[in-house]
């Protein structure tokens, strides 16, 4: 399993594009929004949590279609299916690799971009906490969507139609944490819900994704 993780990470690093592209996209979204809505600080401060979360969501979505597609095309997914580790484990490891190359860097770079969005100073810690708690769910949910559409030639659009509705709870609770954190309100409830959504999807969705991959390989 560790070998698989290392392989996926190496591929992501060396194939170029995938790793940096998501971050660049995140940056672009955050740069474009102030240009679109105007640079007033008060407005930006109010919409900052939402914009940062939506940007992270879209950046995550961007790299999803390659999660299984490359392995499906060159046949290594079939080899993995016959390997001694269960398909659920493969899905979990691949989502972990996806998180390490998208979710984690997004989380780390978010405070810098929050500066551009003029987020309230109290919000920075909670932005990082919320993204760190929420982005694993994005990767796992995305892995499920990618598993469903892996056999399709042009699955990208369908993938976003399937995955984005499932991102909604994470988005709602994630932005709520940051919003409340930024104004110093009590934020235990959305934080717990955010963690709950992540844990539930981490526990259940690899099973569903593995079933989808098996159906696709049949």
């Amino acid at each position: 399993m560790i070998a698989l993780l290392m392989r996926d990470l190496r591929l992501a690093m060396r194939a170029g594009g995938g790793f940096g592209l998501g971050l660049a996209f995140f940056l672009m979204v955050v740069v474009l929004v102030p240009l679109g809505v105007g640079p007033e600080f008060a407005v930006l401060r109010r919409i900052a949590p939402g914009v940062l979360w939506v940007g992270a969501l879209l950046a995550c979505l961007l790299s999803l279609d390659r999660l299984f597609a490359l392995d499906f095309e060159d046949g290594s997914l079939e080899l993995l299916a016959t390997a001694p580790i269960p398909m659920e484990g493969v899905v979990a490891i691949k989502s972990l690799a996806h998180w390490l190359v998208t979710g984690l860097p997004l989380t780390l770079i978010a405070p810098v971009l929050a500066l551009l969005m003029n987020l309230a100073p109290e919000g920075y810690v909670w932005l990082v906490v919320a993204l760190a708690l929420g982005t694993p769910a994005l990767s796992v949910i995305g892995a499920f969507g990618a598993a469903l559409t892996v056999g399709l030639k042009r699955g990208g659009l369908l993938l976003s139609l399937l995955v984005l509705p499932m991102y909604v709870p994470t988005l709602i609770f994630g932005t709520e944490v940051v919003k409340r954190g930024a104004v110093g309100m009590e934020l235990g409830t959305p934080l717990l819900f955010l963690a709950g959504v992540t844990l539930a999807s981490m526990a259940l969705l690899p099973i569903a994704a593995a079933a989808a991959i098996r159906a696709n390989l049949k």
Binding site: L148, T149, G151, L152, G155, L161, L162, P165, A215
Partner: protein
């Protein structure tokens, strides 16, 4: 005599051909009766005026919008466990019907909300979860369309349906456990007693029964179409081989 006999497409076609006119007829009678009774023979509400009457479309269609997903869940589970093609096709057939009911629920809600709440739309948990349900229907239908191999399509959409049930469940109970937002609580309840006066309640029950039967009619009809188009495909494939 077991319910699994209807997993045989031939048996299903025979029985549904016999049942369809009855179900459809009853649906038409109940819907016409309930709607006419509701729209013309009930008094205006003292606060809401005549807008209260949109309840006869809104509540039943919203109920069926959610229930359709649970029917699809049952069909998907039967397909995954016992691999009966009819049940997978019934789930496929129910999706556009469920989507339509969900959209009717959303649109009638907006039309009612405009004079009552002063807004067409509010980002209230109940409305939002219903909108997400509509998106799930779209994704489910699109997935069916996108995959060529029918068995793989049935497998994958069944898995999607199971995952989506979480959200269908949320929309179903959002009316009960989210007290914030604009949308009021449940109108009818078996346990807690009705929140609707009998003048309005009785036609509402007729409308709900009518919508259930309408759903049944449409699903039976569409399942029969699916089975027939499968048969045509099989015949064409056989002909090409010869």
């Amino acid at each position: 005599m077991s319910i699994w006999e209807y997993a045989n497409p031939k048996k299903f076609m025979q029985t549904s051909a016999w049942a369809l006119p009855w179900v459809a007829g009853l649906a038409i009678i109940l819907l016409l009766g309930g709607l006419i009774w509701g729209f013309f023979l009930t008094p205006d509400d003292y606060k809401q005026g005549s807008t209260v009457k949109i309840i006869y479309l809104h509540v039943p269609s919203a109920m069926m919008g959610v229930s359709a997903w649970f029917m699809m869940l049952a069909g998907s589970l039967i397909w995954l466990i016992r691999r009966h093609h009819v049940s997978a096709l019934a789930a496929k057939a129910a999706a556009p019907v469920g989507l339509t009911f969900t959209l009717i629920g959303l649109v009638t809600g907006a039309i009612w909300g405009q004079p009552m709440w002063g807004t067409w739309w509010a980002w209230d948990p109940r409305l939002t979860s219903f909108l997400i349900l509509a998106l799930f229907y779209l994704g489910y239908i699109a997935l069916w369309e996108a995959i060529e191999d029918p068995d793989t399509a049935a497998d994958l959409t069944a898995i999607l349906c199971i995952v989506g049930s979480v959200f269908a469940f949320l929309s179903r109970y959002a009316v009960l456990f989210w007290s914030q937002g604009l949308h009021q609580g449940a109108s009818l309840s078996v346990v807690g007693g009705d929140q609707v006066d009998n003048v309005y309640g009785a036609p509402l029950v007729a409308c709900i029964a009518g919508f259930v039967l309408l759903f049944l009619t449409l699903v039976l009809l569409r399942t029969r179409t699916e089975i027939r188009s499968r048969r045509i495909k099989a015949l064409l494939a056989r002909e090409r081989r010869v």
